[in-house]
């Protein structure tokens, strides 16, 4: 137990603690000799910081759009795959591959796929006479969400498929015997039974989506304007481009508080499901 605690302490607790300490001061790298303790000022400032609030808003919109789509598509895929008889393992492996590509590579990949001058997708769309400006003000965040959907629906698929396959047979047999339609079976039997898994999957995926950074960094750098500036990217900009580390630390800690709240809900749901 002790060695593990030591390692965890060094790698996790110390940086976290230092970050908290940083957020209570006004440290800037380029003025590192002029630092003072300012208490909760960095935090209170955030509530009137337009850019911070916009970044939080963008992030929550991104998470809502991406995770909802992933849930719907993942569920549809899981229901289909469950009934598949042929080439099962190969299909499942292929469908799961996007998850294993490193996110920054996925970001770069889609940057060039969707590039107006060089990209394959605009070329194909052009042949059909359609021209979609993927990264203009209105669509940029949505395009990034779609990239997230491409990469992480397999994760939802994995969890939901495992959940589906672990469901007991009897309720379904009973529904069949009672003459229930497919839709009724789905809404009255499958979904309620699957609910704990869905909740866990959505919460885990949401936690991950809150951290979105690679797609923003690789493709839009937060633009156009501030349309795709997510909180993680905003923290990066403030801390590592503008060198205002204390402010960045405070922002990161507010995100940490949101994440911890979600984790509490997650554990509560998880233990509830076990009863």
């Amino acid at each position: 137990m002790l060695p593990l605690l030591l390692v965890l302490g060094a790698i996790v607790a110390y940086p976290l603690g230092y970050s908290l300490w940083l957020s209570l001061r006004d440290y800037e790298i380029l003025q590192s000799t002029d630092v003072s303790f300012v208490g909760l000022e960095q935090y209170t400032q955030l509530f009137s910081d337009r850019d911070y609030l916009a970044a939080m808003r963008n992030t929550f919109v991104f998470v809502a759009v991406a995770v909802s789509l992933e849930l719907v598509i993942g569920l549809a895929l899981a229901l289909t795959l469950r009934r598949q008889r042929f080439v099962r393992n190969l299909t499942r492996s292929l469908l799961l591959t996007p998850m294993f590509v490193t996110p920054i590579a996925v970001g770069l990949m889609f940057r060039f796929l969707l590039d107006d001058q060089l990209g394959v997708i605009p070329q194909l769309l052009d042949k059909v006479g359609v021209s979609i400006p993927f990264f203009n003000t209105q669509l940029a965040l949505f395009s990034l969400a779609l990239i997230d959907v491409w990469q992480w629906t397999p994760f939802m698929l994995l969890l939901l498929l495992a959940g589906l396959e672990s469901l007991p047979e009897q309720p379904f047999e009973a529904a069949r015997v009672d003459g229930a339609s497919a839709w009724m079976t789905f809404t009255r039997v499958t979904l309620p039974l699957l609910r704990p898994i869905i909740v866990v999957a959505v919460l885990i995926r949401s936690l991950d989506a809150l951290k979105v950074f690679e797609y923003v960094f690789a493709i839009t750098q937060g633009g156009p304007g501030t349309a795709t500036e997510t909180i993680q990217f905003h923290v990066y900009r403030t801390g590592f481009q503008f060198y205002r580390l204390s402010e960045a630390a405070a922002m990161a800690w507010t995100l940490m508080i949101v994440v911890m709240a979600i984790i509490v809900v997650l554990f509560w749901q998880f233990t509830k499901g076990q009863e």
Binding site: P3, L6, V7, D26, E28, I29, L30, Q31, S32, V38, E41, D115, D116, Q117, L118, S131, P133, F135, N136, T137, T220, Q221, G222, G223, P224, G225, T226, A227, R237, F240, Q241, F242, Y243, R244, E247
Partner: protein, 426 residues
């Protein structure tokens, strides 16, 4: 339990070993001839390759100095440089500094003042020969912290053949620019490739519009004077040109997409770095069949946005003597002639007027134009927090081009945020 403890012990020991092994470097010999290693960080650009090619010549004169150049992409450089400044053992003994970083680095005492070294270099070194706007950026609080390396002032790069066909001359005012772009706008060919990407790029490009409209970013005392009718006029015209004559879906364009557009013939002109002209006119370059058809002119209004790189010695450099010996040799008038003849971007007036450079480089008219560009040019930001100031202004400008806010809102917000940044948020 014992095995676990041993394992943890090994891991910890390894960690300390790895972090303890910082850079190792020979200390410069005090007095006497400079020698030893000079670790340099540079950007991955052709001008760096030219310096690499000159190392052989340098070592003929100074065989005891070993210059090791690490070339990195731009985005990685600043972080590595700042880390080197703050490390107990520096990673670099000589660095190049981009102009927005100069004030912050100098005022945080990260850089060594070079005044005495320049004085000791004597009249032959001719420090005043460096184009004034360029060298003044590295003069902070009365001391010199950098020696100019190469410039990236902006100019108008245009298709001479298309201009001739349309009976046009390079535009000298914003109105002329707008009408030229409109005339050259054809189905399939845009009038002008623009770079309104959020942040540095849009500000760098729009800055020329601002100057042409008679506006300024900062006054002589360094105060932000961005909130002006000239700035609003400039932004209106910038957006008008973008909306009529820029390639479709080019809202996030930066340097590479604009270059591709012009070099493939999809745009008739662009505002870009002056040394893009030789690249575009190179038959082996990106323009292919279009090589030779491009011309360079000053931006409309004649006052260009200036950028430049400087040689600076970190205050914690492990070998300042050898680093300065190299810089003095490389930036001396004679060697700069060699560097520019090999294709480097010029910073010295004597070099831009040198016949050998005209012959072996890119011709008299190119260097004369560059000299004119540099003569009347200004950087985007001069003073503390320049990097952040440029980013916040660039964000507001891009939001205006994207239609997220009005010209008025953009200019007001940009000016306010720039002032806040300069004051320093507490």
């Amino acid at each position: 339990m014992k095995r676990l403890l041993a394992l943890v012990g090994v891991v910890l020991a390894l960690t300390f070993l790895i972090t303890g092994c910082g850079g190792n470097n020979e200390e410069a010999q005090g007095g006497g001839k400079a020698s030893g290693d000079v670790r340099v960080i540079m950007e991955e650009v052709p001008d760096t390759d030219i310096v690499q090619d000159m190392l052989g010549e340098f070592n003929k004169q100074y065989p005891d100095i070993n210059v090791q150049i690490e070339a990195l992409p731009y985005d990685q450089m600043r972080d590595k440089i700042v880390s080197s400044f703050m490390a107990p053992d520096p990673t670099y003994d000589l660095i190049i500094v981009d102009n927005p970083w100069m004030y912050d680095f100098a005022s945080s005492d990260f850089l060594e003042p070079l005044d005495e070294r320049i004085d000791a270099a004597g009249n032959d070194y001719n420090y005043e020969d460096f184009a004034a706007p360029v060298r003044q950026i590295a003069e902070v609080d009365g001391h010199i912290y950098g020696v100019p390396f190469y410039n990236y002032g902006l100019g108008l790069i245009y298709r001479q053949d298309l201009f001739e066909q349309a009976g046009l001359k390079p535009p000298t005012t914003l109105d002329e620019l707008q009408s030229a772009a409109q005339q050259l706008q054809q189905p399939g060919t845009a009038g002008i490739a623009m770079q309104p990407q959020r942040g540095y790029k849009v500000f760098e490009e729009w800055g020329n519009w601002l100057f042409a409209a008679g506006g300024q970013i900062q006054n002589q005392n360094g105060q932000i004077v961005l909130d002006s009718p000239e700035a609003r006029e400039a932004l209106k015209m910038y957006i008008a040109t973008y909306e009529c004559c820029a390639p479709p879906n080019s809202l996030n364009w930066s340097f590479d997409p604009a270059l591709r557009s012009v070099s493939s013939g999809n745009s008739a002109m662009m505002i870009s770095y002056n040394w893009m002209l030789p690249t575009l006119n190179d038959p082996d370059g990106p323009a292919g069949d279009l090589a030779g058809k491009f011309g360079l002119a000053e931006v409309p209004g004649g006052k260009a946005v200036l950028g430049a790189w400087y040689w600076s010695i970190p205050a914690n450099s492990a070998n300042k003597e050898a680093a300065w010996t190299f810089v003095q040799w490389l930036t001396s008038p004679q060697q700069d002639i060699e560097r520019v003849s090999m294709g480097g971007a010029p910073v010295r007036n004597s070099v831009m007027e040198n016949k050998k450079v005209w012959e072996q480089g890119f011709g008299e008219s190119y260097y004369k134009t560059v000299q004119a560009i540099l003569r009347d040019s200004a950087p985007l930001a001069d003073g503390p927090h320049a990097e952040e100031m440029i980013q916040v202004v660039g964000t507001e400008l891009n939001a205006a081009v994207a239609g997220q806010q009005s010209v008025d809102q953009a200019i007001t917000r940009a000016a306010n945020q720039a002032e806040e940044v300069k004051k320093g948020k507490e």
